[in-house]
Symmetry: D2
Subunit: 132 residues, 4 copies
């Protein structure tokens, strides 16, 4: 299994994940935990975390779960994602716990639970990846 | 109906849309057309446009369709989104044509077709908004 | 291209499609048009067409679009579906126009627009299939 | 909280749920457990449980979770559903464990894990309901 530091080092090489500021805060047998700090640049018209940041972090949570699962040996690409929004992030962090539900021969599916800094459920996602 | 320039002026006040570089290129009775130029900061692990940028642009395409529909008179927030990825963006632009399918009393739904610079279909989305 | 009658003959061999009563009413270059008549057995707690019937008909609309595209030469299976409900069907028919958006080497994606008997938009779906 | 028998009595009044044969096998604080036995009429072109039955059972799993939550006091209707298919049901039962993730003032969201008779994960869903 990858260490948290190894996965963070990899994430830091990824331009868009770096732009939004993705931090790896946990690596588990079944997935990873990522987070992203709200800052001015990530806000929407309502002054809260933009939905696109949720989507980017959820996508990364499943992508990094697969990177961890395959220990960098397979490339993957997103087939589709579905995300429900429950709570706005008005301050602090958006936290995403990705978990692999199914890893097949050509496709993999992960779920993501998203939380605010108070550990309230802020969103949920189901994401399908293709194994290249 | 809003003009393209009026909508661009509004988009320019939105921090995250400005960060990724959202341009308004069309305003129609049923929706809007947005685009985003690929640049280094928006790339994923494969060197192509990050899926989170597609999601952000798709979300904005329906959100701005609603802003146009209501001429700034109602605030809206994303309930959920679903996005399929067809083609990577390796250079040039990602283009999103958002179209309102249904505007009810409390909810609205839009579809988005996404294209690369060669006008090939690069993705498709269905997005639900809540009218606040 | 298959004829409407050839596709109807195939649909009639499918147990669940027969149970809900799927009729083929159009075969096109890019997809098919199916419909299903509301009857007592297909109702939900509100006395209207059950959401599961919409899902079954939408799934069939993309599946039959692929059967038509491949002229029975490939087997396919649903990877995932997403469906938005706009209007209840209180009488008459639920109509589904399926359209293939993308047919790749291993995956295909179709969209579905669903209508009531008055040709009002009653739902929309995005569905991913795997080509076996 | 409703008893399993009370909820089964209600489900038995619902025409489409009766048609596919929905059984209530568990009622919990956060949701319900339903199942459906494979029989000839529920099969697809591959001879396995039709995807529309998964969708119908998943929809019912969240719907009945809400009926239980509100103890019959509120009517609800499906806004949208998203379902991923992992395994075919070739014999035995399809089991759906619905769980409410979020119950707001006007919307509610539930997740569903679906299993085959061997308790292997056969599908997963995220479903949004409107509270009428």
């Amino acid at each position: 299994m990858l260490t948290r530091a190894e996965l963070q080092t990899f994430v830091d090489t990824l331009p868009f994940n770096s732009l939004i500021g993705v931090r790896v805060t946990g690596v588990y047998r079944d997935g990873v935990r990522l987070e992203c700090q709200l800052r001015e640049e990530l806000k929407n018209a309502l002054g809260t975390m933009h939905g696109g940041v949720y989507a980017s972090l959820a996508d990364a949570a499943v992508g990094m779960s697969l990177v961890t699962h395959f220990e960098f040996k397979r490339k993957v690409t997103t087939v589709e994602m579905k995300l429900n929004y429950f709570l706005p992030i008005t301050e602090g962090k958006l936290i995403a716990r990705g978990k692999l539900l199914r890893v097949g021969g050509s496709l993999a599916v992960g779920s993501v639970e998203m939380f605010n800094s108070q550990r309230q459920l802020a969103g949920a996602a189901l994401i399908t990846y293709k194994l290249l």
